[in-house]
Structure formats: C-alpha cells, structure tokens
C-alpha cells in the first residue's frame, strides 16, 4: 500500500476515524493503532509479519530486562545480546546475498567456486528501519533516556507504527514512548500543518520525483552511452532532485499522517542542498538516520574525543557502514566512503588557521562557492548510489566528456527539476505564513482546498506510482 494510492487514502481515513473515536480509551486506542499497523504491513506481505512482531517483542522484553537489571554489567550484557540479535537478523536478510556474491567472486579469482544451491533470503520490507527502531529502544533504555518502565504494547507500537514503518523517519524511543503515555488531545492538533505536509509530500513524490525518474534519470542511467554531456549532467542533477523529493516527500506524508493521528515525528529533511559543508549537509539530510548513526555508532566508537586520527577513522567507519545500511552493494559502500572522505577533508580544511583563509571562509562569496562545490560533490556520490555497478557509474561520469545536446530537457522536465532543487530555498516563513493564513479560512473551504490540491497533483503526475526509492533499504 503506497502512500499516494486510493487504497492508502481509504485505509488512513478509516484508521483516523476509528482512532479518534477511541482516543479517550488510551489502551484500546494504542491497541487499535497496533492492529492497524499490522494490517498495513500485512497487506504488503503477511509472511513477514511474524518477523516484525518477533523483533519488536524481543526488543521490548530485552528493554525491560535492561531497565530491571541491578548492575551496569548485566545491563550492558542485555544490551549487547539484544543488539547482536537485532543486527544478526538484519544481516541475515539484507547481507547474505551480498556476502555470497562477494565470496563467490573472490573465490573465482583463485579457482572454480562451488555450485551454490542456496538462495538469498527475500528482503522483508522496511527491515532496516524496524531493526534500527528496535536497537534505538535498547540503546535509550541502556542510557536511561526512557524514564518510565517499558510496556510491551508500547514497544510493539513504537517499532511497528505504520506511518514510519516502511521508510522512517527513524524515531527515538526516548521521544516517542512518552507520547504513548499520555492521552491524545484533539484540540492540540495542527491540522493545517499536517495537510500542508501531506500535500507538499505528494507534490514532491508524485510530480517531481516520478517525472524526473521516468523522463530524465532512468533513460540516461539505463543506456549512458546514448546521451551526451548535457543530458548526463541534467540526469545527475535530476537524480539529486529525484531522491530528495522521493524520500523527503515520503517522510513529509508520514509526518503529516502521524500528526493527524496526534503524534509528532522528528523532522527528517531541512533543505539539504542549501548546505555549505558536508557536516551541515548531514545535519539536513535524512536527519533521523544521521543522528542515529552519530548517537549509536560514531559516539560509541569514541567520536572526536580520541584525537584527530581516531576521529577521521570513526567518521570513515560511520559513513562506510551508513552506506552499507542503504544497500548491500559495493557501490553503496563507495557512496558512504565518498561522504566519509568529504567529512574528513572538511575537518582538515576547517582546522587550517591561517588568518586570510579564515577571513575568506567567512565571506558570502566563499559560502556560495562552497555550496556549489558541495552540491556537485554530493551529486558525484549520487552517481554511485544510483548506478547498479561501478562500470555503469564510471560510464555515466565518462559521458560528461562527450559533446551532445540536451535532448531530454523538455519544458516539463526543466520545470520540475527547478522545483525539486530551488524549492529548498523557499523561506520557511512562507509555509508558516500560509499555515496561519489557512487557519483563517472556514473549515469547509480548507477541506475543499486540500481536495483540489490532491486532485491537481493526481492529474499532473505521471501514470502509475513508482515505489519509493527508500523502500528497498
């Protein structure tokens, strides 16, 4: 059930109506949302529901053991055991195939590898996300960030809550569980905000992302040698806009839906292509993942507390594993490696204390130059992220040297590319102002306006709905 479908609209409207009719009965309300989440997931594939329930139940039980453990040692033992089980589950489903392929390829360099009769496990939808939720629950309990005793029903709902189940944002147990402890308040809802997020998300996904994918990015990445430099460059920019609009569109809809149900999710994107340095980029891109990696991987590795060299190593490890989290392929590792090296180079660059350089770095001119440089460095990473093989990635990059006209730059493509990239420069006050303005309209008019906006998006979008890119992760 994809978000931009009639099926999801009917499902969500039904859940919304029933959930608010039950809001006075806290436990029943939560159990209903849990049931709805399982139905949502089960409609994709019922066979993986036991895995989802199993992981969330396991993490809930281990979280209780951590909270009840009398000594630091036993707490740590429960944490390590729980994390190992969670990561093993993720590793089995996500990386078995990758490891087998790599092993066979290495083996075939030294001799004939054996015939392999086993199959890679089929990847359960959203496994990377719900496993990370489970680990967050364990980590937050271990660090005493979850103050109240964990209830199993709450743990189940935290991991499986349907708006974030498939592709995030990755919630923190310490911030979501307290929301489950209090009764929903219909008067505290920011309905206009939620509708703006949903409509904006649909616009980004259905129009910008889908059109760029089908008319610009897919043709070039399918047969790079058929296109010259301008088409290739446009396709690389197009993918930068596509993946941003695809993923941020999904999370905007998720945040909007959760808001309508009375829950607050963290912001996941904050105009990432306006960043002027790699550190800032990661504070703006997939914020829930980058902070997760920071808190549960980079900091435990020692962060920046153990000297410069160790800091660079920790950055590289974090980004390489972050790349591998995105997909089980060496191209994703290369993408993570590129970003790790950007972070290291930026740290080295920032540490140069030569006076004129420090002053120059503070100028507006340098800020803009840095933004443009960073954007292109990020685009270079996206080529490896998008291409299925290194050969293909280098072929795409190689086409940048081949003269050729911009045959794919049709009016609609250029227009949506502009919206996809330049939209990030839209001042936040515009949206806030519109939200306030919308609040002055009669309720009937607000509902009608949302319906008209959604109908327009449906008409302007390409036929069919492509799955969200991050579903595969």
């Amino acid at each position: 059930m994809l978000f931009p479908t009639v099926e999801y609209a009917l499902f969500f409207l039904t859940v919304l109506a029933i959930a608010w009719s039950l809001y006075r009965f806290k436990t029943i309300h939560k159990l209903f949302l849990l049931l709805a989440s399982y139905v949502f997931y089960g409609l994709w594939n019922w066979s993986y529901l036991p895995l989802l329930i199993g992981i969330s139940l396991f993490s809930g039980l281990v979280a209780q053991r951590i909270q009840k453990s009398p000594t630091h040692r036993t707490r740590k033992a429960w944490l390590v055991g729980g994390v190992i089980v969670c990561l093993s589950t993720l590793g089995y489903y996500k990386y078995t195939s990758f490891l087998m392929t790599t092993m066979l390829q290495v083996w075939s360099r030294f001799g004939t590898p054996p015939h392999v009769e086993v199959y890679s496990p089929l990847l359960p939808l959203g496994v990377s996300f719900f496993v990370f939720h489970a680990i967050s629950l364990l980590g937050d309990c271990y660090r005493n960030k979850v103050k109240e005793p964990v209830k199993i029903a709450d743990a189940l709902l935290y991991v499986a809550f349907f708006p974030q189940l498939i592709a995030g944002p990755i919630l923190r147990a310490s911030r979501f569980l307290p929301q489950l402890a209090v009764k929903r308040n219909p008067n505290a809802l920011r309905i206009n905000r939620a509708f703006l997020l949903i409509v904006g998300g649909l616009f980004k996904k259905v129009i910008v992302s889908n059109m760029l994918a089908t008319r610009l990015v897919e043709p070039v990445f399918a047969v790079p040698q058929s296109y010259g430099a301008w088409d290739t460059l446009l396709a690389i920019y197009g993918y930068a806009a596509q993946i941003y609009c695809d993923f941020s569109g999904y999370t905007d809809i998720a945040i909007g839906c959760a808001l309508l149900l009375g829950y607050r999710f963290p912001r996941n994107f904050n105009a990432p292509y306006t960043a002027a340095d790699p550190q800032e980029f990661w504070r703006r891109w997939h914020i829930s993942l980058s902070t997760w990696l920071r808190d549960y991987l980079y900091f435990p590795l020692g962060g920046s507390r153990k000297g410069s060299l160790r800091t660079y190593l920790n950055l590289m490890i974090t980004m390489l594993l972050g790349g591998l989290w995105h997909g089980a392929a060496w191209t994703f590792v290369a993408w993570g490696g590129l970003h790790g090296s950007y972070l290291v180079v930026h740290r080295l660059w920032s540490q140069i204390g030569w006076g004129p350089l420090v002053r120059w770095r503070a100028t507006t001119g340098w800020k803009w130059m840095a933004r443009i440089l960073l954007f292109h460095a990020v685009c270079l990473g996206w080529v490896f992220f998008r291409a299925s093989t290194f050969d293909l990635a280098f072929q795409v990059l190689g086409q940048l040297r081949v003269p050729g006209a911009a045959t794919l730059a049709t009016g609609p493509v250029v227009l949506v590319l502009f919206f996809g990239l330049a939209g990030q420069w839209m001042p936040a006050r515009w949206r806030n102002g519109f939200e306030v303005e919308m609040g002055r309209w009669p309720a009937l008019a607000r509902g009608a306006a949302v319906a008209v906006a959604i109908a327009a998006i449906e008409m302007l979008g390409p036929t069919g709905v492509a799955p969200f890119i991050y579903f595969q992760f």
Partner: protein, 422 residues
C-alpha cells in the same frame, strides 16, 4: 473540514474512483467498490466535472506534460485530423502489408517439444505476414485463439538467421513487455545496441502490466502509441509475470486457472501477438524463466504453456526459451551460477523473479549475435537462410547448446491464486 474534503474529492475524482475500482483484483473490496463508485459517478455525472477533467488532461498532453502514450496518441491524432493530415496509424505503417523479417526464414520453432505440443506451428508461414491491422483487435479471429493447450514448452534457444541488415538502414528492434523486459533484459540490450549502428531500439515496455487485465493497462492501445511512427523489423517480447490472476469479463469473475479464464487469456495473448506482428515484424517471444517461489513458478509455467500454444500458431513468431541459460540442469530456478570459465555470477535478482543484469547479459549476448551477426568469414559455407533448419550450422544461426531430443516431464499444476508480482 472533512465534509469539504470528501465532498470535493468525490466531485473531482468520481471518474477516477470508478476507474480505480474497476482495476481492482476480483475480491471483496472490488465487489463493494465497483457498485459504490459507479453509483457516485452516475449521480455526479450531470455536473459535467468529468468532461472538464478529460479536457484538462488532453490539454496537458498537448503541452507535452502527460506521459500517457495512448492519450498523447489520441491528442496527436486529433491534431492531425484537425489539420487534414492522415492519422498516426497510417504514418506508423500499421496498415501496410507485411514485410516480415523472419516469416520466410524460419524452419522450426525448435525440435524438442513433446509430440503434438507445437501442432502445425509453421503451416502457412507466409499468410500471417499480410494480416491487415483491422483484424488485430478482433479477438475471435486472432491466430491461436482456439488452439488446444500445449502440454509442455520447448527449451529451444535456436534462432534462424535474419536477413542481413541493409547498409544505412538499421534494423528496428522493439522491446516489449512487462518488468520481465524492463528489469535487466532491456537495459543490457539497449546498452549493447547503443554502440551498434545496425540496430535501432524502440522501447515498448512497462513494468507492472500484463495481458490479463486490459482494464488496468491496455496493451492494444498502448503498444501502438509507444511505437509511434516506428516500424519494427523485430519485436522481442517478455511478458506475463503479472498475469497469474483472475479477472472480470462481462461482470463475471473468471478465477485464475479455470478453462474459461484460460480461453480468454489465450485470446488476449493471441490478439497481442497478432498486433505486434501486424506490420510484418518478426516476433521473438522470450519464455518466462523459472521462479523461486514454487506456487508462483507453477503459475508462470502455465502462462508459458499458454503463450507457447499461441506463439507456435504464428508464422512470424519464434518461441525462445532461455531456461538453459538461467535455470539449473532440471530447468528449475537457480540464483547463482558458475560459468565454464570458472566465473561465478548471480543470474537472478534477489526477488527471485527478475533476471539480474548478469543473467540478462547472457540472453543479450545471444540476441545481439542474432540481431546483428558478425560478418561471415570468407571460408564459411554460404547457406540459403530459407533452406536451413533453425539450429543449423550457419555462421549466423544462434543455437548455443544442443537441446535434448526427448520431451519434458510434466508437473502437476496448482491453481492457487497469488498476487501479482513486479
């Protein structure tokens, strides 16, 4: 607010909702949704919003915004009619007499089918080449529509040589199908063909489609629109992965696997084949590979038998079964393979359905050799293509592996329904 949202949504989208309900798979939701949405549509029809929407969509197509091939073709046709020009069907050459690239060159679709499986596959080979386009949409007259179902499908990879490419006139090759074409095979073929001046590839594939549900995606409308003015000499088809599902005909649900279902599906498949070969194109029908999930694999095997039944009746179509390239020795699913040179590769994607790029590359290598064969060596004996059997020793014939002479084991077929795959 909810009233405003629901009221305006129903007003603006009543047509779309009825269309959505009609496209649902047979089941409880469809049973409820179809009459409900039709009632809404009927009630709101007098307001004329549907007409406004239709006009808006056409205007979007006129300014190049729409990607709906059928809509674009309709708009182009209207524009041309308004200017007094002939319609697109004429310019595309679909009414022209056939110039089949392979009808006269094929001797056999493969000699290893079970006796009686292929019937008189190539009887009257030349007759189908001149099928007028007007007959294409007539299901009742489509070739193969009433043929009895084949018991098994040949595993042949033999492809009789095509006529040589004329200098300066590249061979036009259309790639048609669902995700079985779109994932892996199309990309590897297009990449290979991109550097070959003798080949011109036309994309005519769309994931998530099939021949079983024309109300969801009508290939009879979309395929000509995707071709535009192109006139393919060869059409490579890989389709059917989503077709193991029931459908509704004349308000009656036909469950997957029933005789009635099979007959209608076979008719639709035959009509599609008649359409893609109507301009005289040689059609290579790529059999679907074995699938990982047993229930789904049995469905695909049944789809293959129906496809083969139809394909074997067409003089312009070649049944091409790559199971020996991507399956195991028994023709069953395998994910990894070790080549004779010791190189290990994954031949299937991790979903257990589609081909990986490496697996598709194996098919592509053979197809490319057939589509644009390397020049004959001076010392090679010159054969007349028409006189050679498909798996002959001609330098350009593609028959990589000897095929077993015996027929194939028959497996009991289950008819348990399964949701559509990619």
């Amino acid at each position: 607010m909810v009233a405003g949202f629901v009221g305006v949504s129903l007003l603006l989208e009543s047509d779309g909702l009825a269309h959505w309900a009609d496209r649902l798979e047979p089941g409880p939701l469809r049973t409820v949704a179809v009459p409900a949405t039709l009632a809404i549509e009927k009630t709101l029809a007098p307001l004329g919003v549907g007409g406004v929407r239709e006009a808006a969509l056409k205007n979007l197509a006129r300014v190049g915004w729409s990607d709906d091939e059928a809509m674009l073709a309709e708009v182009a046709s209207e524009t041309q009619a308004g200017m007094g020009k002939p319609g697109r069907a004429d310019s595309a050459g679909h009414n022209s007499p056939g110039n089949s690239a392979c009808a006269t060159t094929l001797a056999s679709p493969g000699g290893n089918a079970e006796p009686g499986a292929s019937g008189n596959a190539l009887a009257g080979a030349a007759s189908g080449a001149n099928t007028p386009a007007g007959e294409v949409s007539a299901f009742a007259h489509a070739p193969g529509a009433n043929a009895s179902l084949a018991n098994s499908v040949p595993k042949t990879l033999a492809l009789a040589p095509l006529p040589p490419v004329e200098p300066g006139k590249p061979r036009v090759v259309a790639l048609a199908g669902d995700s079985m074409m779109a994932v892996g095979l199309s990309a590897t073929l297009m990449r290979q063909a991109a550097s070959d001046k003798n080949l011109h590839i036309v994309k005519a594939f769309k994931s998530g489609t099939g021949l079983a549900r024309p109300e969801v995606y009508n290939w009879m409308d979309e395929y000509p629109a995707m071709l535009g003015a192109e006139k393919p000499d060869v059409v490579i088809v890989a389709i059917g992965a989503n077709d193991g599902q029931g459908f509704v005909v004349d308000h009656k649900v036909l469950a997957y696997g029933t005789d009635a279902w099979r007959q209608v599906y076979q008719d639709r498949l035959a009509s599609f084949l008649a359409m893609v070969s109507a301009g005289g194109a040689c059609v290579v029908w790529v059999a679907l590979p074995p699938m990982r999930v047993p229930v789904y694999d049995e469905k695909i095997a049944a789809i293959n038998r129906i496809a083969y039944t139809v394909v074997s009746q067409s003089p312009q179509a070649i049944w091409w079964n790559p199971v020996s390239l991507v399956g195991d020795e028994q023709g069953k699913f395998r994910e990894f393979e070790t080549e004779a040179n010791g190189q290990a590769m994954r031949v299937r994607s991790t979903d257990g359905i589609h081909l990986s790029d490496e697996g598709a590359g194996k098919l592509t290598a053979l197809l490319m050799k057939w589509l644009d064969p390397p020049p004959l060596k001076p010392s090679a004996p010159i054969h007349s293509p028409a006189s050679q059997p498909a798996a002959s020793s001609s330098a350009n014939a593609v028959a990589p592996e000897p095929q077993p002479a015996a027929g194939h084991k028959r497996h009991p077929r289950k008819t348990k329904s399964q949701t559509a795959k990619g």
